[in-house]
């Protein structure tokens, strides 16, 4: 089984603050992490290898420093990692990202491709299904359990808004995974050593069979027009008087709203 896992390095959005004056993101001191859902993708890949044998490859498309994320994946036990990085890939939206990743995956060869459900910086959840489209393979989203896996067939549980579905697919297939699927392992000591030593090949646009007009900013149908701080409107009527009076007023309000 050849398993390719797509991971993304993201800023830890729980640490992000907004500069209230300029309305821009304060990135300073914000740590970069592997997208949390992608840790579950790595774990899923490792578990499939442990039962079925094979090889686990991780890839990421990003700036040179995204190599750190790949080393972290190696420390968890994956076999090899590739960095897809080129100035020409900059500014890719989900369409161009998926296009480029699919070209890399094709080059590396695969039976199963695994992505996280979504990346926490953009929260789009689009890259996985779009990669599957470009590879012309089926995909199953939000996999929460792998029930059975054979050489040419897989059966999983897919999380839905009102429950879950049991879905079968032929292999090759692309899966996007949710947190319920597994608990990602921690790096082992041996893994950490391997991560230090590993050489991480870099794939640029010349290494991939990509069309110039489909990559980077130019290949991206969507553009960010502007960004702004979220705005909220409220009437902000603070009830006055002592506790008793406030509660009475509130009850009157609820009455008027026919809620009582």
């Amino acid at each position: 089984m050849k398993i390719v896992i797509c991971i993304k390095q993201v800023p830890d959005t729980s640490e992000i603050k907004i500069d209230p004056v300029t309305n821009t993101l304060i990135r300073e001191g914000v740590p970069s992490i592997i997208n949390p859902y992608d840790l579950h993708a790595i774990e899923a890949g490792l578990q499939i290898k442990e039962t079925k044998g094979g090889k686990v490859t991780v890839i990421t498309m990003g700036p040179p420093q995204a190599e750190e994320a790949l080393r972290e994946a190696i420390s968890m036990g994956v076999d090899e990692a590739y960095l897809i990085s080129d100035r020409a890939f900059a500014g890719s939206d989900t369409w161009a990202t998926s296009y480029t990743l699919s070209k890399a995956i094709n080059k590396l060869g695969y039976d199963i491709v695994i992505c996280g459900k979504q990346a926490i910086d953009g929260d789009t959840a689009q890259v996985g299904p779009e990669i599957a489209e470009f590879l012309d393979i089926p995909h199953i989203s939000y996999v929460k359990k792998i029930e059975e896996i054979e050489d040419s067939f897989i059966r999983v549980q897919r999380l839905m808004d009102d429950g879950y579905d049991v879905v079968e697919s032929t292999i090759p297939v692309l899966l996007t995974v949710v947190k319920e699927l597994n608990i990602p392992r921690l790096p082992s000591l041996r893994g950490k050593m391997a991560a230090k030593k590993a050489s991480i090949p870099r794939l640029t646009k010349d290494d991939l069979d990509v069309k110039e007009e489909n990559i980077g900013l130019k290949g991206s149908p969507t553009k960010v027009k502007n960004i702004f701080a979220p705005q909220f409107k409220g009437e902000r009527k603070i009830l006055q008087g002592d506790l008793e009076e406030q509660v009475n007023e509130l009850i009157q309000i609820l009455k008027d709203l026919k809620c009582q």
């Binding site: 800023p11 959005t13 729980s14 992000i16 300029t22 821009t24 990135r27 700036p63 890939f89 900059a90 500014g91 989900t94 369409w95 998926s98 926490i120 910086d121 890259v127 996985g128 299904p129 779009e130 489209e133 393979i137 089926p138 995909h139 199953i140 999380l159 839905m160 808004d161 009102d162 429950g163 879950y164 579905d165 049991v166 079968e168 130019k218 991206s220 149908p221 969507t222 553009k223 960010v224 027009k225 502007n226 960004i227 702004f228 701080a229 979220p230 909220f232 902000r236 009527k237 603070i238 009830l239 506790l243 406030q246 509660v247 509130l250 009850i251 309000i253 609820l254 709203l257 009582q260």
Partner: protein, 395 residues
Amino acid sequence: MPIIIKIEKCTGCGQCTDSCPYSAIEIKKEKAFITEFCNDCRLCLSICPEGAIAEVAYRNEPPLLKDEYRGVLIFAEQRRGQVASVSLELLGVGRKLANDLGVELSAALFGSSEKEAKELIKWGADRVYHVNDPSLDSFNDEPYSQILYELITRYKPEIVLAGATAIGRSFIPRVAGRLKTGLTADCTSLEIDKETRNLLQIRPAFGGNIMATIVCPEHRPQMATVRPRVMKRNIYDPKREGEIITIPIQNIKSRTRVLFSINDSSESFVNLQDAEVIVSGGRGLGNPEGFNMLRQLAQLLGGTVGASRAAVDEGWIPYRHQVGQTGKTVCPKIYIACGISGAVQHLVGMQSSDIIIAINKNPEAPIFNVSTYGIVGDLYEVIPLLIKKLKEAKQ
């Protein structure tokens, strides 16, 4: 279009580096330099005092055939035969967009029944494409993507909207991929730029910390998934007329197969999204027992209980009650926030509620900025008294 620095004009003052939300501008040898983080947001264009930052056109841009595309199409999701509420919300916003553009609003319904197709018209559609094959009653990515793709290439709408639900977010990306067009995920607001007819797609990014307006200027259709419970439905008009076009299917291949669909709404899903009244608790409750008090209040008001992430993280209440960016988006008639500070990530999930009542002991808490009515006070004094008086009134 790409952003460039005109080196001869740049003084290296660094104002652009401070303003760039993506930290994509560096000063090297006293000149600004744009790195690969650039996202083309164009913020720096207005910042540079020297006018040294400019936008340049691409060479050999493809010709546009945008005028071939007209109309707004929504994907009317159904579950277990019944049109999902998000579809009605899409008809609400779709009607507004279609009116702004002066075009028709159509809906695509896969599976389900003629009766549901008629409902879509009463909720605002001019036309329904009903692909009424029973094999489409349950959701399967492969046939759904293929059929929607074919409908779009045949009828050429300029805008396609779907719900940002498990279903929409799974198969719509495939359709956009195949069409080579842009797709914006999980939009919370949609508007038309009248000058260009472009769809302005507004959505939260970076965990709700910031909002972005996304456009898809050079490709058609413009596609977006829309967050449930944010858009308003139209008023139901039982007399409204429209056209239903029944479309047969042929040659559908699928490499995936859905064996069962398990509905476990009873055990692990609370009906937050359909509640008319929600009483939510945050870290200010101080302990899990506080939720018992909120349950009592919710019961008296005929509502249900929600929570902030802080309360969920404390383990006081299960995740399924969480409201906000990483929880549910809700839009009840009345939302009562008790001991919730009002972080943006919470606000994006409840700000469109009709009436927001906040109870918080800190008068500076940002929750008051979105509230219709606020009580500054200790919730352990306010709520027991409220419960007592509500009970008295009931008797």
